[in-house]
């Protein structure tokens, strides 16, 4: 077993993708940043110096402490505190976890929905394909953030106020997911159209393999590359969408703040001089989205050189 693992590692190190990874400083730096961010958000309970959601550890006396290096800052709060005395560093880390969870879940949701519809549309063709593709056309004319706002607004109307705070995160995932799926449907349909005319698909049909198995076992693995590429770039978009919605106040509730919520809270104090409350979460968000985007660009260039 260990031998097998070793040979797998060797194979990865030897592969062309790893080679181009080694040669691309942007890819290395951005994936390093992402690794650190993912690690910190995942083990936030251990890493964060404070738990900002534990009221007993908060003290209003600490409120509006500036970052440690500026005048009036203390070493206890590296990036300062917000209006309730919460440590900014800890809140950012907790917030980024929520942002990442929402982003990943939303992109996974739209990926599954989009690929399923796109793959079947491309494979079966005919009226079904027309129907699906016209829906994507219509939806693509509406900016995705408006789409997400619409879905979120409808959900607010349906779900009662008490339930809404608990459900907010799921509503958000659904709203962002539903606004992103046409991208995946289009790409997977186009790739399916290419793949389904190849002889290996005909060979499987002649053998008698069922349509479902052809799609899952044969076509899907062959169209994954372009889908992964737009999936990565889509992840950055989803995280930004989440922050935008939270900034507008329709995302996650302020009791469990995400990055967007933190920026909104800090926005109120921006002009009274407490710049750090909005600045650090914003920088963090930019860093996160930028790294994902750079990594996605590198993936596109490596996996699909023709798109360059």
């Amino acid at each position: 077993m260990q031998n097998q693992n070793l040979s797998l590692i060797n194979k990865i190190i030897d592969s062309d993708i790893f080679f181009s990874f080694k040669k691309s400083p942007t890819a290395i730096i951005s994936s390093l940043i992402l690794l650190i961010i993912f690690f910190c958000s995942f083990f936030v309970e251990i890493i964060a110096p404070y738990n900002p959601f534990d009221p007993s550890s908060l003290s209003l006396m600490d409120a509006f402490t500036p970052p440690s290096w500026s005048e009036g800052g203390t070493r206890n709060f590296l990036l300062g505190t917000d209006g309730q005395g919460r440590d900014m560093l800890s809140t950012i880390l907790y917030g980024s976890r929520i942002s990442l969870i929402v982003g990943f879940s939303a992109i996974l949701f739209s990926l599954i929905l989009g690929v399923t519809l796109g793959l079947t549309a491309g494979y079966f063709g005919g009226r079904y394909e027309m129907f699906v593709m016209r829906i994507t056309d219509v939806q693509l004319t509406i900016p995705s953030i408006l789409m997400a706002l619409l879905v979120d607004g409808i959900a607010r109307g349906i779900i009662s106020r008490e339930l809404h705070d608990q459900m907010a995160i799921y509503v958000l995932i659904f709203a962002i997911g539903i606004s992103e799926w046409p991208q995946f449907a289009r790409v997977s349909r186009a790739a399916t159209l290419v793949e389904k005319n190849k002889d290996y698909v005909s060979a499987s049909t002649i053998i008698g393999v069922s349509n479902l198995m052809i799609m899952v076992r044969h076509i899907l693995p062959n169209i994954l590359r372009p889908i992964l590429v737009i999936g990565t770039i889509g992840l950055a978009l989803a995280i930004i969408a989440e922050s935008t919605l939270s900034f507008l106040g329709v995302g996650v509730p302020p009791t469990t703040p995400s990055l967007g919520t933190l920026i909104r809270i800090g926005n109120d104090f921006l002009f009274s001089g407490e710049w750090w409350i909005t600045f650090f979460p914003a920088i963090f968000l930019v860093l996160l989205a930028f790294s994902i985007n750079l990594l996605g660009d590198w993936m596109r260039d490596t996996l699909n050189p023709k798109l360059k």
């Binding site: 062309d16 080679f19 190849k198 002889d199 290996y200 005909s202 060979a203 499987s204 049909t205 002649i206 053998i207 008698g208 393999v209 076992r217 044969h218 693995p221 062959n222």
Partner: protein, 562 residues
């Protein structure tokens, strides 16, 4: 005095893991009025040499050594020299006329552009020159066709335009890289005749790069044989092909299917396994061999297939009729050949027999059952396992994301759901052995194999369901001749051992002659004639068949006096 002289040319491609020596110490010369054939299998470096002459070697390729002289000028000494030579003194003809012309410009505009780049002529003079050129390469009504776009020309006509482009600045050297490979036999011979005539008339030095020994035999004066970047043998065509000295040339010549007789097996000199003469296939132990009866396995009656052109046109007048009222029978145990040029509908018939398309009208009977009207999935599955197919392109016919083991296991699992894992493993090993692949192949992915090996995997997959009919759609046309000989031998062996019935589809007449018992000739979706193979080749009755037989390039033609 030789016009082109290549001295110890070496071209290297420095890759990440290794350096590929595409050409090593290649040395030859070409005189005016002479056609030199450059022949070799894929990867032999024949195109690399051609590209080196016109400085078209792509990164990371590099000329590491040697020199090229044209008219006693070293073309690599000064990088500017080649620019003035290319297009002017050297004309180039590429393989695919589809892509070597710009589809957005008319033929005339492209000609004038090239002429004015190299010669200082005004537009009117350039135009009259262009029209004369088009006439010279055999384009009728050149004045009117001058303003046509490339898509308005047929494949052969387009290649004529490409030739006129290559000739437009009075070149003295013409490099033709597989100029007829993308064309049908009848057009191929016209183009080759044109090149021959032009060589004489204009006193050109011509390098003809091709893999086709028949073309070499009929066209060239001298031939250079290349293998893996090394020049193996060079000499007058008659000598090299008729009495080859190098071991490699011998094996190459013996792999070419003879056009004038039927041989039992190809004489393959470099066999993979020395001991594969014993034809006891292990697979026979589990093969439920059907006794051959003297009956028709396949009966095709009044088969018709038309494709609807466009979504909006309701009328049937625009339909493209691919197969028009065709009937034939295939006896159990025979190999039946379908021959025709591109667009003759031969592949469409194959796809209807394996049930990828439904015919527009007509019936296909397999073992007395009309299979194109079956709607029940389970009954269909029963017939699916009896009819299998081998495809032309060995690259797209295997799923590159699956291991060979899974590719071959798929049909077995599907048709024998109770099979146990270790039994399946044995079965796959036997199948691999019967197509002369090692057991280790099962663990690898298709991209680790060469074209010929992939085709063997394809055959193993087709045999996995123990079919009675094997449809082979141009199974060797993407392969090199030596590999083709091996695959054809394998198919013959398997047919004898396993009592298979084969439907063999090809455009290549010599190959069909070696493989088939009976042959049907198709043209534009209509049946021209059906006849026993030997009878067809000796006394063809249909005029189209006669023409095809007359035009096919014959390697034997070197023995005739020219």
């Amino acid at each position: 005095m030789s016009f082109l002289k290549i001295n110890n040319l070496s071209v290297n491609y420095i890759m990440r893991k290794e350096t590929v020596f595409a050409a090593q110490n290649v040395k030859f010369d070409v005189s005016k009025g002479e056609i030199l054939g450059l022949v070799g299998e894929s990867g032999s470096g024949k195109s690399t040499v051609g590209n080196a002459i016109i400085n078209l070697i792509d990164e990371p390729g590099k000329i590491s050594e040697g020199s090229i002289f044209i008219d006693n000028i070293d073309i690599y000494k000064d990088p500017k020299t080649i620019k003035t030579l290319r297009g002017k003194k050297i004309g180039i003809i590429f393989q695919d006329p589809q892509t070597s012309l710009n589809p957005l410009l008319t033929v005339g505009e492209q000609l004038i552009e090239t002429i004015q780049t190299h010669l200082s002529l005004n537009k009117a003079d350039a135009k009259s020159r262009a029209i004369n050129l088009l006439k010279e390469v055999g384009i009728t009504d050149a004045e009117n066709r001058f303003d046509n776009y490339p898509h308005q020309f047929s494949g052969g006509m387009r290649q004529r335009v490409v030739i006129s482009l290559a000739l437009c600045c009075e070149p003295e050297l013409l490099i033709a890289d597989e100029p007829t490979t993308a064309l049908d036999v009848s057009i191929q011979s016209q183009i080759l005749d044109l090149i021959k005539n032009l060589t004489k008339k204009r006193n050109l030095a011509v390098i003809l790069i091709t893999h086709d020994m028949g073309v070499i035999a009929e066209t060239t004066d001298r031939v250079a044989v290349m293998k893996k970047g090394i020049l193996v043998e060079i000499g007058p065509t008659k000598e090299v092909l008729g009495n080859p000295k190098a071991e490699y040339t011998k094996s190459l010549v013996s792999s070419v299917p003879p056009t004038n007789k039927k041989i039992n097996r190809f004489n393959v000199i470099n066999k993979i396994n020395e001991n594969d003469n014993q034809l006891n296939l292990k697979i026979l132990n589990r093969w439920k061999k059907k006794e051959l009866n003297d009956q028709n396995l396949v009966e095709v009656k009044n088969l018709k297939k038309s494709f609807h052109d466009g979504i909006f046109s309701e009328s049937s007048s625009k339909d493209v009729v691919a197969v028009d009222d065709i009937s034939f029978n295939i006896k159990e145990g025979e190999s039946f050949g379908l021959v025709g040029e591109s667009g003759s509908g031969k592949s469409t018939i194959a796809k209807m027999i394996v049930n990828l398309f439904k015919p527009t009208s007509g019936e296909i009977y397999f073992d007395k059952v009309c299979i194109n009207k079956i709607t029940d999935k389970n009954i269909m599955l029963k017939f699916r396992r009896q009819i299998q197919m081998i495809f032309q392109d060995p690259y797209s016919s295997l799923n590159s994301r699956m291991k060979v083991y899974d590719i071959i296991a798929e049909p077995i699992r599907l048709h024998n759901t109770l099979i146990k894992e270790n039994e399946l493993k044995d079965y796959i090993n036997d199948l691999l052995e019967s197509v002369e692949l090692t057991k280790k192949s099962a663990d690898r992915y298709p991209h680790e194999f060469s074209g010929g090996q992939r085709q063997r995997i394809s055959i193993a997959r087709a045999l996995a369901t123990q079919p009675r009919l094997l449809v082979c759609d141009e199974p060797t046309s993407a392969l090199d001749v030596s590999i083709q000989a091996q695959i054809l031998n394998l198919l013959k062996d398997l047919q004898e051992q396993l009592n298979l019935t084969i439907l063999f589809i090809s455009h290549d007449l010599p190959v069909v002659r070696q493989m088939c018992d009976r042959i049907a000739v198709l043209r534009y979706g209509k049946l021209c004639e059906i006849s026993d193979t030997e009878n067809l080749f000796l006394n063809p009755s249909n005029s189209y068949t006669k023409e095809l037989l007359h035009l096919m390039p014959k390697i034997e033609s070197i023995y005739e006096t020219r």
